[in-house]
């Protein structure tokens, strides 16, 4: 019976990135995916005729350009379209916009506060300094601080040197950044509520924390590290939806000789004498492989796909305690026409940007209070956009696809599972909020896909529907991600690796975990990694 060189469990973007790099290194790689399509949380499906949704992830910025280049993704159809800033609607019928032009941005802020308008440069300087500190770490394996291996010592030294290279003020800022709440952090720069709310949203997205919870400042940083084709900090739409990312990855993988099996759900990893030997599918079919790499999150991998007896107790306990709390949902809407927002001038670029309706930190925090109480936010925070204003391929002419990321949505409702009625109530909270700012909105709706944490877990396989495969709090970053001692993509089981967002450097459609895992695997196989571009310089 055939034994593959490597079997990747899960065809999400990290699984595919990992598979691509291994295949290109000369391995014979099989990707097994439970769904009938690949993509994980980066998919675009046609659920109603003529409309393509970005079913889960919906914008692109963090995906590493080095990976796009190595895997020739533009050749396989990936194109990212930058979009133009965004806006927060205020309850008094106005809005605060973010424009890409520096001076337009300042003038817009000055409508609300001249002081805050002029505070933006210092804020931007400090955030940029922090990003430049973190960014080079994304494409490196985190060092094991307990190891005396030359490589770990070297990496620790690199980290230490980078930190020591900071000025006293920067060091202080770095530590504050990693531990502060986004609300406290913004208080250091701004005084106007809507301006703070405007920035705070990046600190809570995908995180089961409120804007006043310590640690949320780092989450903001995580969202600032991206780019679109060299335009730093820009966000864009993948043409054809986020599925275009994984379609291009799958095409690249196949073109280099890789094999994908969809509709193949893994029941468990086949382990003999502490070593992974392959996978067993739900139907009982055994597939043999010399290595098994899991793109599933760390909980799913080690609590569902691996038998407990194969794992050390401490590891198991830490995996069980890994924070991967569901906090968000997604509502995808097909519209028969472009919604109107009377607050916005008709020619505003904000129609082509991200829109929000939460105009104060207090409202965000109250939304989080609902989450803690075990219910979805009555007044949810939406990250809403209409990609079809820039990408005509996702809907029929004149019609539109609207993507709404919704927070907060707990993994369970008052301790019990979500019901269909809960799901409809959750969707209604979203529609009601949009309709408040867009008269006639309900009448434009042709079709809706509503995904609470229940649907995201069941369909995508993300535990509790957590979009980052584990929260991005400092206790779960770098050499503590996913758990101490196992931050280098290896696991207690020989030949079983992790490559999902549960590993360093974390979630977002970045591809770095998949790539870094491939580098470690090839190191273990003593294979060259010449086909992997080094990380871009930060000078």
């Amino acid at each position: 019976m055939k034994a593959w060189d490597a079997i990747v469990i899960g065809g999400g973007h990290n699984g595919l990135v990992n598979a691509c790099y291994l295949q290109r290194a000369g391995l014979d790689v099989l990707v097994v995916e439970k769904n009938d399509w690949v993509g994980g949380a980066a998919t675009s499906r046609e659920l109603t005729p003529g409309f393509l949704y970005s079913n889960c992830s919906y914008v692109c910025s963090l995906f590493r350009p080095e990976i796009m280049r190595d895997l020739e993704l533009p050749r396989f159809g990936l194109q990212v379209i930058s979009y133009e800033g965004g806006a927060v609607f205020t309850r008094d019928g106005d809005y605060l916009a973010n424009y890409r032009d520096h001076d337009a941005h300042r003038r817009e802020f000055a409508r609300f506060s001249k002081r805050d308008a002029e505070a933006y440069d210092r804020y931007s300087r400090d955030v940029t300094r922090q990003c430049r500190f973190i960014q080079p770490l994304l494409m490196r394996t985190a060092p094991d601080p307990t190891s005396f291996k030359p490589r770990d010592l070297g990496e620790l030294l690199y980290l230490g040197k980078k930190f020591a290279g900071l000025s006293a003020e920067e060091m202080a800022l770095t530590l504050r950044f990693w531990t502060m709440s986004i609300s406290d952090f913004l208080d250091e720069y701004f005084e106007t509520d809507v301006i703070k709310a405007n920035f705070a949203l990046s600190g809570i997205i995908g995180t089961a924390l409120g804007p006043m919870s310590p640690g949320t400042a780092y989450v903001l940083l995580h969202h600032y590290m991206g780019e679109v084709d060299g335009s730093v900090g820009a966000w864009g739409y993948a043409r054809g939806g986020m599925g275009a990312v994984t379609r291009a990855l799958a095409a690249s993988f196949k073109a280099s000789g890789g094999t994908i099996r969809t509709g193949a759900e893994v029941d468990h990893v086949l382990i003999k004498n502490g070593n992974a030997k392959g996978v067993v599918l739900a139907g009982g079919e055994e597939i043999y492989g010399k290595l098994v790499i899991s793109n599933a999150d760390v909980k799913r991998t080690f609590l569902k796909l691996v038998e407990e007896k194969e794992l050390p107790d401490i590891f198991l306990r830490r995996v069980r305690n890994f924070k991967i709390r569901g906090s968000s949902g997604k509502v995808n809407i097909a519209l028969d026409s472009l919604p109107e927002f009377p607050a916005l001038p008709k020619d505003s670029p904000v129609y082509r940007a991200d829109m929000h309706f939460t105009d104060s930190i207090g409202r965000m925090e109250r939304g989080y209070d609902d989450w803690k109480a075990g219910r979805w936010s009555a007044d949810p925070f939406l990250d809403m956009m209409i990609p079809t204003t820039l990408d005509p391929t996702m809907a029929p002419p004149g019609k539109h696809f609207m993507s709404c990321f919704v927070q907060y949505a707990p993994p369970k409702i008052n301790g019990r599972d979500w019901t269909d009625a809960d799901r409809d109530g959750f969707a209604e909270s979203v529609i009601a909020q949009i309709a408040e700012y867009s008269p006639g909105f309900r009448d434009r709706i042709v079709h809706m896909e509503v995904r609470t944490p229940r649907e995201i877990e069941a369909e995508v396989g993300l535990t509790e529907g957590n979009i980052f495969q584990g929260e991005l709090t400092f206790d779960q970053l770098l050499f503590n991600r996913p758990v101490p001692g196992y931050a280098q993509y290896r696991s207690p089981v020989g030949g079983l690796y992790m490559c999902g967002s549960s590993t360093h450097p974390g979630g977002g459609v970045m591809g770095a975990p998949g790539r870094n895992a491939a580098a470690e695997i090839l190191r273990d196989l003593a294979k060259p990694t010449l086909h992997m571009s080094p990380a871009h310089d930060v000078i």
Binding site: D101, H102, D103, E108, R115, A117, D121, R122, R125, P345
Partner: protein, 419 residues
Amino acid sequence: MAQATRKKPVDTEIDTALEARSAAQSHFRTLRLGTPFQPRIDALGLKQDWYSWAGYRAPHSLWDEELEYFAIRSQAALFDISPMTKYRIEGPDAEAYLDRVTLRDVTRLKPGRVHYTAWCDDEGFVLDDGTLFRLSPTRFRLCSQERHLPWLLDSAFRYDVRVEEETEAVAGLALQGPTSFAILRDAGFAGVERLKVFDLAEFAHDGATVTISRTGFTGDLGYELFVPADKALSLWDRLMAAGELRGIRAIGYTALNRARLEAGLIVANADFTTSEHAIRTDRLRMPDEIGLGFMIDPDKGHFNGRRAILEARAKKKLRHVLVGLEIEGNIPAEHAIVYYKKGQEVGLVSAAMWSPMAKRNIALASLQRPYGDTIVDDLWVEIYAMRELQYQKLMKKAKVVPRPFIKLDRRTANPPADF
């Protein structure tokens, strides 16, 4: 009916508020604003050679950058400085407050006087340089390149002072060159002959007041005029009419930039990086590192950054020095690397030109101490002159020289000469 009449004013009020909001929102349609002088400048901007100065559409050059430069030196040049950031600082504690915020001793700045100053953050790094106008005992105007409202407001804690940004409300013009005084006199600004360098006074104009100071950025005889934005065009016309026979010309930034370099003046974020914009912390500079050490008055009492600055001086922690260089030959050394003994890299040229007035090849450079400080011999610059797609590499000797590179008697002569 009575109800309707009562209701109407309320509606109108709401409509007016909405109109104002809509007008304020509409800035996204015009990314580069015009200044109050824009209609006149547009009419003269034959080259359509614009750049963004703090979000305003400003000319690099209007018709001929060489001739625009010579207008400064031989005639009179009119340059729109409206985009400069302006703060109105007023109150009983304004003097004490500014003395605390800025480097120089503001208690010695008399009403009716202007001084060039700078201000630092708490670590002693320069936030910006600019000019401080003392309009009355309790009222000042601070002009700068960058924006500082949060810093200025935060520093106002405990002072009885009001700080307001007034960039858009106040239009500014620089009138520079040998005939500038004669033009102002002929334009009817009686008494302008009494202004000595760094003096200011108010004059009547078009039912309002224009503040004229004998200041400028050219090292030449010259004046700066500030006027309410709605009186800008009439002021422009008044000067242009009076200057017609004295060669008055509107100019763009390229010409001004040459004149300022000859005058040895530095430009924020061109010759040094301001503290709030420096992403890389080794780019931060203390006043002593960019030639502004003369502003520091250790005896005047506390000012922002004082402790750090004095400590850096005492512990000899100053790492850079900004110097004027005279470079052999005639090829400008813009952004050239400075070497010691032709081999050791010790600094960078930030601005350079062949000076028509000094007839010398001049430059401003930032050097790593002790070079440029105690070691000033055997300095060289490597000029990469791109000529028809090839670098002509020149290693030229550089000499540290005092600034300004030119000294014009007419700048300070009293009364100013009638050219």
